[in-house]
């Protein structure tokens, strides 16, 4: 949002996915997450198909796998819990690789792992193809209450300012030979952290005052045309619609005897 920042979350590009209006992408991702979560955990094939769908989106959006995987560390702590469930879970035990594990726990792990991963990857792709500012304008388009939109906008602004100032101060510190090695450096870090906040705060405040001076009343004026046509809605809708089709199909197959697709 601010000048001169590049977001680690956003990968600039000019692909069909990048070009979609943000409000379409937001709704598509939410719908996709709902379909994924609503799919019964026994439908292994469905989850595989969802993963293929997301991979397809990533290819079209030219988001490299490494980028997605790096961003997936968000899920890591959670993954550890998932691995713990079969161990501390209740109920009937089965032996897997020499470990006594809960059968129900294994199912629960799989369920959470598959759904959470798909949800995380969908969000990563959304953030990688949509600028934060555009995302917030999209939310505004979707009639998200004005107050929430504003708070979000300023939150993103302040995060930016804080990160920017951090970078500048780290450079200043390190160019004078400072390196954080152990606790003895804590006072220096503490002092610069205090100064960091003061600086970020004051910069954010001045930008806000400058905005007020130019007649800002709490709503970002939308200048560019952000309306989405039927075609764009359909393009964005392709992901959740395909996912829904997969869900329906696998459910039908599961109810046909003898196909062996559980």
């Amino acid at each position: 949002m601010g000048a001169g920042h590049h977001h680690q979350l956003y990968r600039p590009g000019d692909t069909p996915v990048h070009r979609l209006p943000p409000q379409c992408k937001l709704l598509a991702v939410v719908a996709f997450a709902i379909v994924v979560v609503a799919t019964p955990r026994e439908r292994f094939w469905a989850f595989g198909a969802y993963a293929v769908l997301l991979a397809g989106v990533a290819v079209v959006a030219r988001v490299p796998p490494g980028f997605v995987i790096r961003r997936m560390v968000v899920e890591l702590p959670f993954l550890l819990f998932v691995f713990a469930i079969p161990v501390i879970g209740l109920g009937e035990r089965v032996e897997v690789l020499g470990l006594e594990l809960s059968r129900e726990g294994l199912w629960a792990s799989w369920n959470i792992l598959a759904k959470a991963t798909l949800g995380v990857v969908a969000s990563i792709l959304l953030a990688a193809t949509t600028e934060p500012r555009a995302m917030i304008l999209g939310a505004q388009r979707l009639r998200v209450p004005q107050l929430l939109v504003q708070i979000a906008m300023f939150m993103v602004r302040y995060l930016d300012v804080i990160m920017d100032e951090t970078r500048r101060m780290r450079v200043a510190r390190e160019s004078r030979g400072f390196r954080a090695r152990d606790l003895r450096q804590a006072p220096i870090l503490a002092k610069s952290a205090g100064a960091l906040f003061i600086r970020s705060y004051e910069r954010g405040e001045r930008v806000h005052l400058a905005m007020l001076s130019r007649g800002y009343t709490g709503t970002m004026p939308v200048i560019s045309d952000m309306s989405a046509g039927v075609r764009q809605w359909l393009t964005a809708g392709a992901l959740p619609l395909a996912a829904a089709a997969v869900a329906v199909l696998t459910t039908l197959l599961a109810h046909l005897p003898g196909l062996g697709l559980t």
Binding site: A38, V74, L80, G119, V120, F154
Partner: protein, 339 residues
């Protein structure tokens, strides 16, 4: 405590979604009384601040760490309704931008970390402050207790939801004991940080602590005939928008300090709650060093009693020292600006 997709059954997710939507709706209607809508940037700063707070993975016990929630601090600084909005925004941004917390679990997350923390904290805070009105110490003590109570309250609500509709087959009592236990410890850290922050803000800009506004002194006019005093004109807007959040530098200083100091020194070395379970059970040979920056769902599991670790105490002491330092710095800077 960020719940991912697929963790709760659909009925619990939907029910929590309804509760969250209703809560945010009520908050939207009432927030306007707390906050001039031109002061939304202030709420934005609180949200950014809480975002930073939640990134902080701090040690709560020997080998375990968890993250702060921030709801109590928001409620005391900007009022309970605005606090719910701030928390909702933080969780929405985490969900959509950072893939932290499932999109279908937003209702659960907003209910647990936004509505429960803000409501419980505000209730407790009001009770204590009402007992000793106009007393600065009571405000600080109230902040401590409110934050302390709000965190386990949120954890127990999580445990209750889990008992009703968790998808993992784990004994609900064990979840409640583990979540409650770990979060009492997190609550102590949250209480201290909240109290330090609120008291620093009180020292610098009392008008910015919600509910402690309105300190108008007579103004002095200097004319050729000398000085005379005039009563200030009534201003419809309680806080002038010119310098709406200067004191926040104090609170945010505390957090940033924590980020810089505590995180870098401790968080990288300490496994979080989940990992510790895994280690204890001999499940992962080597938990290894990790630094999840924030976003850690550090608070699940870990059944049984947890002794307060040395690391936690050091962390808290550093926090206190930092809070005092930042307040001092801020005051000196301010004195300089005035001079």
């Amino acid at each position: 405590m960020h719940v991912p997709d697929g963790f709760f059954t659909a009925s619990v997710s939907v029910a929590a979604g309804v509760v969250a939507a209703a809560g945010v709706g009520v908050a939207l209607r009432n927030a306007r009384q707390e906050l001039d809508d031109r002061a939304a940037p202030m709420a934005g700063l609180v949200a950014a601040f809480i975002f930073a707070v939640q990134m902080l993975n701090f040690p709560v016990a020997a080998g375990t760490s968890g993250h702060l929630l921030g709801g109590a601090l928001a409620a005391i600084l900007v009022g309970p309704y605005t606090a719910v909005l701030c928390m909702a925004v933080v969780l929405l941004v985490q969900g959509f931008f950072f893939a932290d917390g499932g999109l279908t679990a937003l209702g659960v997350n907003i209910t647990l970390m936004g509505i429960v923390t803000a409501a419980v904290a505000w209730g407790v805070f009001r009770l204590i402050v009402r007992a000793a009105p106009g007393n600065r110490a009571a405000v600080v003590a109230g902040s401590f207790v409110a934050a302390l109570v709000s965190v386990p309250a949120s954890a127990l609500t999580f445990a209750a939801l889990f008992a009703v509709g968790g998808t993992a087959p784990i004994d609900a009592g064990a979840v409640a004991a583990a979540m409650g236990g770990v979060h009492v410890l997190i609550g102590i850290g949250e209480g201290l940080i909240t109290a330090v922050t609120v008291s620093s803000v009180l020292a610098v800009r009392p008008d910015l602590v919600y509910g402690a506004r309105g300190l108008a002194k007579p103004l002095v006019l200097r004319t050729a005939d000398g000085e005379r005093e005039v009563a200030p004109q009534p201003v419809s807007q309680p806080a002038p928008e010119g310098r709406p959040f200067r004191p926040f530098l104090v609170g945010a200083g505390v957090v940033t300090l924590l980020l810089a100091g505590v995180v870098s020194f401790f968080a990288s070395g300490d496994p979080d709650g989940l990992e510790r379970v895994a280690e204890d059970k001999g499940f992962l040979g080597q938990a290894g060093e990790h630094q999840f920056g924030g976003f850690a769902l550090a608070d699940y599991g870990d059944v049984g009693g947890i002794p307060v670790g040395v690391a936690g105490v050091i962390g808290v002491l550093i926090t206190l020292a930092v809070g005092v330092g930042v307040a001092y710095l801020a005051r000196r800077r301010r004195a300089k600006a005035v001079a």
